[in-house]
């Protein structure tokens, strides 16, 4: 898996608006390079049959029930789904912590680049859901999105045996360690899936978002 950092996306993650100026761009490029170099990307995935007959969605081979309306709607055309976990590893975190001591502006750039790197890993990982037949994928969906509870995070990790296979664990309070890790599911359907684009209303920061206050979204739309 290759580490790719989207500089514009990283700039937004660190609270920047518009285009980064000359010096900021150089710093972001340096940060992206350092994140790419220090990362040790790893991933793991498993496939499950989807059973929507009861309440919520059951992953057939396990006893795991995915509650809520959102995931039910997401998987309405799917007989199968892929659950995965990706991480960029521990080393970038040590790097960020070290830079917090010396230059917090650069540390913020590193942190933002690391987040962007994980996103790119997710995109690459999703492609593994496409096998030899022609299939269509739903959007990626993670515990904590809409009404899929965050408390499912340890269950996803347990199903995938992330602790042993890729060194990702969930702390007692639900933080993923290494921090720059993502668990998600993606549905595999036989027809094209509409992008859900739930927009801002699904985000926990909706009520206090400083982007929305100034008339834009964090993903670049003008309200």
């Amino acid at each position: 898996m290759k580490i790719k950092v989207d500089l514009a996306e990283a700039y937004r993650y660190m609270g920047g608006r518009g285009e980064p100026d000359g010096q900021e761009k150089k710093e972001l490029e340096k940060a992206a390079e350092m994140i790419a170099e220090s990362s040790n990307p790893r991933s793991i995935e498993r496939f499950f049959s989807v059973d929507r007959s009861g309440d919520g969605v059951l992953l057939s081979e396990t006893e795991l029930l995915l509650p809520g309306k959102a995931v039910r709607a997401l998987l309405k055309d799917c007989r199968e789904c892929m659950i995965f976990c990706v991480t960029i590893g521990n080393e970038p975190e040590m790097l960020i912590r070290r830079w917090e001591v010396e230059n917090i502006a650069f540390a913020a750039a590193l942190d933002a680049c690391a987040s962007s790197a994980v996103e790119s890993l997710c995109e690459q990982e999703e492609k593994k859901a496409i096998g030899s037949e022609e299939v269509f994928l739903t959007d990626r969906f993670s515990p904590g999105y809409e009404d899929l509870p965050l408390s499912l995070q340890p269950d996803f990790c347990r199903l995938l045996d992330t602790g042993r296979k890729i060194g990702v664990m969930v702390s007692g309070s639900g933080v993923m360690i290494p921090r720059k890790s993502v668990t998600a599911l993606v549905g595999i359907a036989d027809r094209k899936q509409k992008s859900r684009d739930s927009g801002c209303s699904a985000c926990p920061a909706y009520g206090s978002c400083s982007y929305r206050e100034s008339g834009v979204t964090c993903y670049g739309h003008i309200l």
Binding site: M14, E100, V101, S173
Partner: protein, 788 residues
């Protein structure tokens, strides 16, 4: 074991240890199958039987462990050894995660005690990927039982564990802890593990273990790709390498063991030669003697006012900054000394080490005259450290060497005893001999001894240099030990000290000095090391030398050692002149985020103005202007942070200046900042810390994952009027609520502000906080309102 239990009907999702307790006859049957196939050590079904993993099962560690060890015992009879099998706890230790040393230790102690009581013959720690965790486990086992300990870690193909731990570091660290055998298990098939076990075997003399997987599992069906015969074939290489203990991990079954036994029948285990060398390490950094290894000396309060103040204030950011700049300048190891009179040295050493390992991976040299402080340093450093120091005095040797032995550290021996420092090289050599003898009598290997022949000033005695150098040569040639030395004493009382120091350093390196203790931020001194390494053939193609010097302007001015003392001065050291941009003030430097300019301007302004006036009339108004622009959306967070960095470098200049004059530091009041229990996100909090300290507030940063009790206790003890709490996850908001509740209950008069991406002002109100700080700028406004 897990797969075998599943084959015999264990339902998916059930804990194997619980199932085993409920179906002992099945577990016994599995063990017997393995004995039949040729196993002689049985790993009991206790891999995940720790307090954390059993939490929701309703069963105690004691009952689960006892039941499963008994099953193994029953099957084993007199034929086999029964090992208590212990895997990782399932949570990462700090600083990577939130589990503390004490918590992990307690969990390991619990399971080891249960295993010992149940009659296990030995303890096996396997499948660990974090060096700190396996080290804690081994200490818990050694301190609570007499059972032999096996230790194996799990590696990726690249030769490191998931947390980046190198095979060499694992070998060097665990060897000294008293393990009975060491090796690798899981993750990979036999072929891929061989290079890794070879590396481990080249460093440690301990017996080796290889417990490989049956290759790699298929992503779709989980089927492993190497059959029993192929597995056995690949494992035969173990005999040539000299591995004594072999087994199969994931994907293997009794058939694999049978084939393995057949393949190794009649083969003799090769003898291993281990290269004896002095090595110290952290999980991710391995420093071995052979080429000069620089020990950075700057984390030491002796005679250094600024860092002394930082230690008194528990301003670990400053201490860390020194360590990081030493690492950047090429130090291989950091000396850590926290001996400030009047402070609790053991406690401070513990905290300092824990802080350092969160930001730098350099191995540490624990420097203290206080045995408890030394012990704390050793206990909490997750690697192999150096103890600085012992000397020829009996009591010192008797007190300290047992600690060195217990933690498997290297040790510095000073050639001084109760009679003082010998005047002759022979005299110093004799003390070195005595120290070597004492170390060996405690079982400390000779490669872990570093002799310091001590440097006295040449201005007091003309033969100071030659005595030290001769003693050094004698120690190297006749005792075969590594050597360490601080050189700067040589020039005390003379002009151009650096010139003398550097020449003496070079002479010493030629006589065999392995570990110079010096200031790595002195470019002049480090140049000598670079040249020496190259001239000594330790720099192939002269690559490092060329890249170091190629672009250097050959000026005759040198960076003096003193300039390395402050973050800001370092940045501005090379250009102590007025900037040629007309009309540039501190204000513009801060607003445009010019770090070094801000520092220079401040330095120059200090010649005309009082420090406090600069803070109040130049720095703070600049920050206010930046803050206002941020609020109006003219600039955004990246620019705010750059300005904060510039302001901070200006403030560093002021702090240095004030400390140098022995005055009280500028402070407008104390603020506690903490990320609440369970939460490890802290970049936001650290941004707030930067902004607030730039305004002159003294920040007591309690870090992340802070229990409510610690926040309350600090608030009461330090009488802090403003407390800032941060949480970045909905799951940790209850911790925030609990912290507020405890603060109110304590009746301590204070204001509480809360912040973090998931917070809203409504929530802040609902939990009883006084303020909701939506960003760093707002926190500064709140601080002004509360503290002035």
């Amino acid at each position: 074991m897990g797969t075998e239990l599943q084959k015999r009907g264990m339902p998916a999702g059930m804990l194997p240890e619980i199932y085993g307790m409920e179906h002992p006859e099945i577990v016994e049957e599995i063990h017997r199958a393995y004995i039949d196939a040729g196993s002689r050590i049985l790993y009991a079904n206790t891999f995940g039987a720790n307090g954390k993993k059993l939490q929701r099962s309703g069963k105690s560690v004691k009952e689960v462990v006892t039941a499963n060890v008994c099953s193994a015992r029953k099957a084993a009879g007199d034929l086999c050894g029964v090992a208590l099998d212990v895997g990782p706890i399932g949570e990462m230790m700090a600083p990577i995660g939130t589990m503390s040393f004490e918590e992990a230790y307690a969990l390991f102690r619990e399971i080891v005690t249960a295993g010992k009581d149940a009659g296990a013959d030995l303890v096996v720690f396997e499948t660990f990927s974090d060096l700190a965790e396996i080290r804690t486990a081994i200490l818990a086992a050694k301190e609570n039982s007499d059972l032999p300990v096996f230790a194996t870690m799990t590696f990726e193909e690249r030769g490191r564990t998931f947390t980046g731990c190198m095979a060499e570091s694992f070998a060097a660290t665990v060897s000294g802890l008293g393990a009975a055998a060491i090796g690798v298990n899981c993750s990979l098939g036999p072929k891929s593990l061989m290079p890794i076990i070879r590396k481990i075997g080249s460093i440690t003399e301990l017996p080796l273990i290889v417990k490989a997987n049956a290759g790699l599992p298929d992503a779709r069906d989980g089927h492993y790709d190497i059959d029993a015969a192929a597995f056995a074939r690949e494992m035969s290489e173990c005999a040539e390498i000299g591995v004594r203990i072999v087994g199969g991990c994931c994907g293997t079954d009794p058939e694999y063991i049978r084939e393995l036994k057949k393949a190794l029948e009649g083969k003799s285990c090769a003898e291993r030669t281990v290269r004896k060398q002095t090595a110290v390490c952290s999980a991710t950094r391995f420093a071995v003697s052979g080429s000069i290894r620089v020990i950075g000396e700057r984390i030491n309060p002796t005679g250094k006012k600024r860092i002394q103040q930082a230690m008194k204030d528990r301003d670990f950011d400053y201490v860390l900054a020194q360590g990081i700049s030493e690492a950047d300048a090429g130090a291989d190891i950091l000396d850590v000394n926290v001996g400030v009179p009047g402070l609790d040295e053991p406690e401070l050493m513990k905290e300092c080490v824990q802080q350092l390992i969160s930001a730098t991976d350099l191995p540490l040299q624990i420097d203290s005259g206080n045995a408890k402080a030394l012990e704390n340093g050793l206990r909490y450093f997750p690697g192999k450290a150096i103890v600085n120091s012992v000397n020829g005095e009996e009591t010192r040797l008797k007190t300290i060497l047992p600690l060195v032995k217990k933690y498997g550290a290297a040790v510095v021996g000073l050639t001084i005893d109760e009679n003082g420092i010998p005047e002759t090289a022979e005299g110093r050599f004799r003390i070195a001999e005595k120290i070597k003898k004492a170390c060996l009598s405690y079982g400390i290997p000779e490669e872990d001894i570093l002799i310091d022949c001590l440097t006295l000033t040449v201005s007091a005695s003309a033969d100071s240099a030659s005595v030290t150098l001769k003693a050094l040569r004698m120690v190297k040639e006749r005792l075969g030990l590594s050597t360490i030395l601080g050189v700067s004493n040589i020039s005390f009382g003379l002009p151009d000290r650096e010139e003398i120091n550097r020449t003496f350093l070079t002479m010493a390196m030629e006589e065999g000095l392995d570990f110079p203790i010096m200031n790595p931020n002195s470019e002049f001194m480090m140049d000598a090391v670079a040249s020496f390494r190259m001239l000594n053939g330790a720099d192939p193609g002269c690559e490092n030398y060329i890249s170091r010097f190629r672009d250097r302007e050959k000026t005759h001015t040198r960076t003096s050692a003193a300039a390395g003392d402050s973050k800001a001065a370092q940045a501005g050291a090379a250009q102590d002149k007025m900037p040629d941009k007309a009309g540039h003030t501190i204000e513009t430097a801060v607003m445009t985020g010019q770090k070094s300019e801000a520092a220079i301007l401040t330095k120059n302004l200090l010649m005309q103005k009082e420090a406090l006036d600069i803070v109040n009339e130049d720095l703070i108004p600049a920050l206010d202007k930046v803050g206002a622009e941020y609020e109006k959306g003219i600039i955004f967070l990246p620019q705010l942070l750059r300005s904060a960095e510039a302001s901070e470098s200006a403030f560093e200049v002021i702090k240095d200046y004030i400390a140098g004059k022995g005055e009280q530091p500028v402070t407008k009041g104390k603020i506690i900042l903490a990320t609440v229990k369970g939460d490890i996100h802290d970049i936001g909090k650290n941004i707030v810390k930067t902004i607030l300290s730039n305004y002159g507030y003294r920040i007591l940063d309690l870090g992340r994952d802070v229990p409510p009790e610690k926040i309350v206790e600090t608030a009461l003890r330090e009488d802090v009027k403003l407390i800032g709490l941060s949480a970045l996850m909905t799951t940790t908001l209850p911790s925030m609520e609990e912290t507020v509740r405890q603060l109110r209950k304590s009746n301590h008069a204070c204001r509480i502000m809360v912040g973090g991406a998931v917070l809203t002002s409504a929530y802040a109100r609902s939990i009883g906080a006084d303020y909701y700080a939506k960003d760093a700028k707002r926190s500064a406004d709140i601080a002004r309102e509360v503290l002035g």
